[in-house]
Subunit: 161 residues, 2 copies
Amino acid sequence: MNKTQWIPIVCLRVIAMVSTFVATVVMVTSHDSAKVLGMTFQAKYNNSPTLRYFVVVSIITTIYSLGALFVPPKKLGRHVLVLDLIVLSFLISSFSAAVGVGQLGKEGNSHAGWLPICGQVPKFCHHVTAALIAGFVAVIIYFLLIIYNLNNVLNLVAFKA
Amino acid sequence: MNKTQWIPIVCLRVIAMVSTFVATVVMVTSHDSAKVLGMTFQAKYNNSPTLRYFVVVSIITTIYSLGALFVPPKKLGRHVLVLDLIVLSFLISSFSAAVGVGQLGKEGNSHAGWLPICGQVPKFCHHVTAALIAGFVAVIIYFLLIIYNLNNVLNLVAFKA
């Protein structure tokens, strides 16, 4: 891999690392409370296993993206490509599950008798939405990173064929 | 691509196609009703946007997997690899979102005041669980398909280097 191919990879990894770091911080600091029928109701990310999963995946991706920056370009082989694919899979998984639950928080589901909660705890919902946007940026960046690496490899095949 | 590389790809695509077809049929036929406080309560997959999304992705993957079987081995280039990656992304996304919502159906979320519904509509929940298992099989198969194709391409690079 030459220098012109290496620079975009470093840039994409830095953007992904910053996005997942921001997603983690914004999600972890999401907190709001409301009084419903005289009882105080607390909304925190760790009340939901899905949002906890989102935070765990965001932290792991931040650490992985940082670590991958120190892999020398010549050692960027199939293992890194497969690890990137695994990281992308978990990013998509945690983002989609959190969107599914977030949509319920916003709209509720009248058939299941689940009322929306965002009207009562808007600060919490804004934080979750912002964290999901940062998570989506990380998904797109990892997708582009894999396509870019794949393209480099396939060009090499075409060039050597 | 030679014949020994082509046969595993055809087998994986057929398994993925059957899994997503089964996931679609099992999810679409999920239906149950219960009487709660004298009112009849209907549980259907199309009451949830997340489960509708799961069905749409399963149908598209079934059609795509069938279509991809007719692509001649020599034309299996980067476009098919990128399309496979997009299909895997949507499979993971729809599966994870449906698991997130399914977990709420099973366990509820006491903090948000969302009661579990599986006690009232067990037949519906069994169908959704079975569809999710079939969806998970499709995720694993598409993941293996991409790793296998990637491995073939990378071996070609190593061989020609």
